[in-house]
């Protein structure tokens, strides 16, 4: 318990640093959505009470599990993500990756919350955060940022996005998490999950 706590503190400090430091150009290139091809999309947790959506994307030779969160209760959503992450990675080397991820996410949440608070009571209270799990031939990373959007008849279009954090994490952690995110968000498993992931080279079940 003590080790985990220390790791969490380190991860938080690291994440805070990462959020303030400029991102390397090599990673920024992996986050360019210009050539994105969306192969699957699902509202989370459901279409009726959505707090965001998950998109499965092909971006050049990379596969991306992109989560767009646009909700007034981001702290709840982040809490839920933290709960799932800690449950999915109870121990082992990838637990540190999970901790780094959730703490980075928490730091971005705090940053967007302060922006919302500055808007006043009549402003848009939704916190808009994107999370991307990216796996490419040579990279596996998690990036988190904020974005602006327009919502026309339930269709969300990203107008602009700002990457705030990029974490290079273990490939196993990123790949497994992408599959878990797909299964959880699209409410599928087994063959249906395999079918969903089939267009994504790195994620498809072999």
């Amino acid at each position: 318990v003590r080790l985990s706590a220390i790791a969490a503190l380190v991860a938080t400090a690291g994440a805070a640093t990462a959020a303030d430091a400029p991102l390397p150009a090599r990673l920024l290139a992996r986050l360019d959505p210009g050539a994105d091809e969306v192969v699957g999309r699902s509202f989370v947790p459901s279409a009726e009470r959505r707090v965001g959506e998950v998109r499965l994307v092909r971006r050049g030779d990379a596969n991306v599990a992109q989560t767009l969160l646009y909700t007034k209760v981001l702290s709840r959503v982040v809490g839920e993500i933290r709960r799932k992450e800690l449950a999915n990675w109870p121990d082992g080397p990838a637990r540190a990756d999970a901790l780094r991820y959730v703490e980075a996410l928490e730091s971005v949440r705090e940053r967007t919350w302060s922006e919302v608070a500055a808007r006043g009571p009549k402003g848009d209270r939704r916190q808009k955060v994107w999370i991307e799990f990216v796996v490419a031939p040579r990279e596996a990373l998690v990036a988190i940022g904020s974005f602006e959007m327009e919502d026309r008849d339930g269709e969300v279009r990203v107008l602009s996005r700002e990457p705030l954090v990029a974490l290079e994490l273990s490939r196993d952690y990123v790949l497994r998490n992408m599959r878990l995110i797909a299964a959880d968000s699209f409410h599928v498993e087994g063959d249906a999950l395999a079918e969903l992931l089939a267009p994504l080279e790195w994620l498809r079940v072999r």
Binding site: E48, R49, V51, T71, K72, V73, R76, G79, E80, R83, A117, P121, K122, R125
Partner: protein, 752 residues
């Protein structure tokens, strides 16, 4: 006319038969309104507010099933509520069932507030009862919604699916729920179903029942009365044929206009049957009294004699009913317009069919003597003598009675009671009053709060003002409870860390609580209390089963106080089905005065045209307005409320009762030879006898409506009959007294 009575008879009868067959076929298919929509006034402001309310917060027509159980909070009682909730949720047409069995409270969780069932799953025995009691004590708002204060009656709230165009599923659902109530209700357990949807369903059923019962009853009563009066078959068959054709044509036209019968227009058939008799009765009576062997000439003479008086009588009756078209309530408008149409149809049919029918018969050898009961004869003679000999005293006595009646008028209460307008033994009234007494208020007033600038209510100021408004409402008499978003905010605060049921204490907490509401899993429930963007909130006030006499001022007081407490930055609107009825009720008096003034104006204008005499028009005015005032006073003294039904009496009856005056004045003008007293004696004993018989038919016919299912229409029928009796009394005393007093030795009154 001669052509019609000779060669034209057969073609006329064929055409009449064909038209009646077609319109009768249409009339047989007239539908029954299932929504009670025509009982709502067409006040655009009210309609718009209600539509906005329903679009934002959903329907306010949920059903409430009360479950009374001697051991409600024990395992057996809770088990029954749970089993019923589960069973009802599977019935076709049910959208959702809410009860103690599936109610949730908010508790602190890993991530903050999270829902937990009030009744812990898997528990049994005494532990269960204890836990439920604790949960109810912990959540007074939930307890107020789902359990009575004595913890012996539980509420199961049933949301119905919205299926536009499907007219049957609600009725089937209500029948199914009543069958379950009958099945389960024994050994101290009883179930009681209420709600606006039940009321609509039951009213439709009662209209169908009244249509089935009142028509044959009216035929029987009128047939028997005609048989007693004429003592021959033609005296029964011809008038009944005219009434049958009148009803068929009028209801056929009603259906052609795309209309359905409602609680008020269901009275049209019996009322039309009564009103359509007059022309036939006068023609047959004239034919019997006439002389001459030539059947065609005899009939022709009678028709020419009766044409003008009958036309003006029909016209005044039609105008009286037509004046109801000035009211705001569609049901009353339709009743007035189609009753007027029916009266005109009955005049046209009576003036053609009766002569044609009579032309087939050999004329009686001698003029028939009208059989008259000695008591009636003596009474008429006494009335004639009294009015002729003591006109001043007669007017004084009648003026005294009128003054007494006027003293009763202010006591008339403007009150529509949706629960008690049914008969006392009606299941809906029984069940609703049970719910009102044992569980919660049977009526609901809804208020919508919004910011004037359209911004969300997610602020500390809005929450505090809403709380002040809620406290003010709860302090009022007749208010049983209030449901609003504040109850949920208190739960959120408790579960988010405050530890007790308090409202958000600062701006950030208020905004966060609304944010959580927006993300709550049970959105359909949250949406019943607050708009999706939090720009408006609903304050639902449960009120005891009071009539609109209490509810209307209560709603206005709440509005006034609410607007003061909320301030200029907020808007407050009252709405909901019950509020709309209350608001309509408030407008009844104005509508009645407007309609009655129009009726009086039109009717006496017609009389002026008929007699071409201001003096006679004035004389006709007095004995016809007096009985209306008497009826108003009677309503005040006997505690009969002014409602949709009783508000129609004055306008509808003025056109009918004035017929007696027209006939009396016509008879007087014929009998007048310079001595008004002698003319009065001749008219009262002659025309008075015919008026007496005509009134018996009218009164008995109207009283058939007393066997209906709705108190407003029962009172309409009863009091209309009473007004006709008092109007006859006035015509036999006041009219002759006025004629004697105002006679200045002028020429005899002219009559068309």
């Amino acid at each position: 006319m001669t052509w019609l009575l000779t060669r034209g008879r057969v073609p006329f009868l064929c055409a009449l038969l064909a038209a009646t067959a077609w319109l009768g076929w249409l009339a047989a298919g007239v539908g029954i309104e299932t929504t009670n929509a025509s009982l709502d006034s067409r006040d655009p402001e009210k309609v718009a507010a209600y539509e906005r309310f329903k679009a934002t917060f959903g329907s306010d027509e949920d059903l409430l099933l009360a479950v009374a159980h001697p051991a409600l909070l024990e395992a057996e009682g809770i088990g029954l509520v749970a089993a019923l909730s589960e069973r009802i949720s599977r019935i076709d047409g049910v959208h959702r069932v809410l009860s103690l069995a599936n109610a949730e409270e908010l508790v602190p969780g890993e991530l903050g507030a999270e829902p937990r069932p009030v009744v812990p799953p898997g528990l049994e025995g005494p532990e269960l009862a204890g836990r439920v009691r604790e949960a109810l004590d912990r959540n007074p708002d939930l307890a107020g919604l789902f359990v009575s204060a004595d913890r012996r009656t539980a509420a199961i709230l049933i949301e119905i699916e919205d299926r536009p165009g499907d007219l049957h599923y609600r009725g089937a659902l209500i029948e199914r729920l009543r069958a379950i109530a009958d099945e389960v209700g024994r050994d101290g357990v009883s179930l009681h179903l209420t709600g606006i949807a039940v009321q609509k369903h039951d009213v439709s059923e009662m209209i169908a029942r009244d249509t089935r019962v009142l028509m044959p009853l009216a035929v029987g009563v009128l047939g028997a009365t005609l048989a007693v009066f004429f003592r021959r078959l033609l005296g029964v068959l011809l008038p009944l044929a005219v009434t049958g054709i009148t009803v068929a044509w009028t209801l056929g036209a009603y259906r052609l206009a795309g209309l359905e019968l409602n609680a008020i227009t269901s009275l049209l058939p019996p009322v039309l049957m009564v009103l359509s008799l007059a022309v036939s009765v006068h023609l047959i009576q004239g034919w019997l009294d006439a002389s001459g062997p030539d059947p065609v000439a005899r009939v022709r003479r009678v028709v020419l004699e009766q044409l003008f008086p009958c036309f003006f009588c029909s016209l005044t009756t039609a105008l009286g009913f037509a004046s109801l078209a000035t009211t705001d309530t569609p049901a009353v408008q339709l009743f007035g317009l189609f009753a007027a149409l029916g009266v005109l149809i009955s005049f046209a049919v009576g003036m053609t069919l009766v002569p044609v029918g009579l032309s087939f018969l050999p004329p009686p050898a001698s003029a028939r003597e009208v059989p008259q009961h000695p008591l009636v004869r003596r009474a008429l003679a006494w009335a004639a003598e009294t009015a002729a000999a003591h006109p001043g005293r007669v007017l004084l006595v009648f003026a005294g009675i009128t003054a007494l009646a006027l003293a009763g008028l202010p006591r008339v209460r403007n009150n529509t009671d949706l629960v008690r307008f049914l008969r006392d033994d009606a299941p809906l009234q029984r069940d609703t009053l049970f719910v009102d007494e044992h569980l919660t208020g049977a009526n609901m007033l809804d208020f919508v709060v919004a910011r004037r600038d359209g911004a969300p209510l997610a602020s500390l100021d809005a929450v505090q003002r809403l709380a002040a408004f809620e406290r003010a409402i709860l302090a009022r008499e007749h208010v049983v409870g209030v449901s609003s978003v504040l109850a949920v905010l208190r739960q959120i605060e408790r579960a988010e860390g405050a530890g007790e049921l308090v409202l958000p204490a600062d701006e950030r907490a208020a905004a966060w609580a609304f944010d959580l509401l927006e993300a709550a899993p049970e959105q359909p429930l949250v949406r019943k209390l607050v708009a999706p963007d939090s720009t408006s909130a609903r304050v639902n006030v449960r009120v005891r089963a009071v009539g609109t006499a209490v509810a209307a001022p209560l709603a206005e007081d709440i509005l006034e106080e609410g607007r003061r407490l909320l301030g200029d930055e907020y808007t407050l609107t009252a709405t909901g089905a019950f509020y709309n009825v209350s608001r309509d009720s408030n407008r009844l008096v104005a509508a009645q005065v407007r309609s009655f003034a129009l009726a009086v104006g039109l009717v006496f204008l017609t009389i002026g045209v008929l007699f071409r005499s201001a003096r006679l028009t004035l004389i006709a005015f007095v004995p016809n307005v007096m009985p209306v005032a008497w009826t108003g006073g009677m309503m005040g003294f006997f505690g009969i409320d002014l409602s949709t039904g009783t508000a129609m009496i004055a306008s509808a009856v003025i056109g009918v009762v004035v017929d007696d005056t027209i006939h009396y004045l016509t008879g007087f003008s014929r009998a007048y030879r310079g001595d008004p007293r002698e003319a009065v004696r001749l008219t009262t004993t002659g025309t008075g006898a015919a008026l007496f018989v005509n009134n018996v038919v009218l009164v008995l016919g109207f009283w058939v409506g007393c066997f209906g299912s709705f108190k407003p229409t029962i009172y309409f029928s009863l009091l209309s009959g009473v007004t006709m009796i008092t109007a006859l009394v006035c015509d036999l005393f006041v009219t002759p007294a006025c004629l004697v007093l105002l006679d200045r030795g002028r020429r005899a009154p002219a009559c068309a």
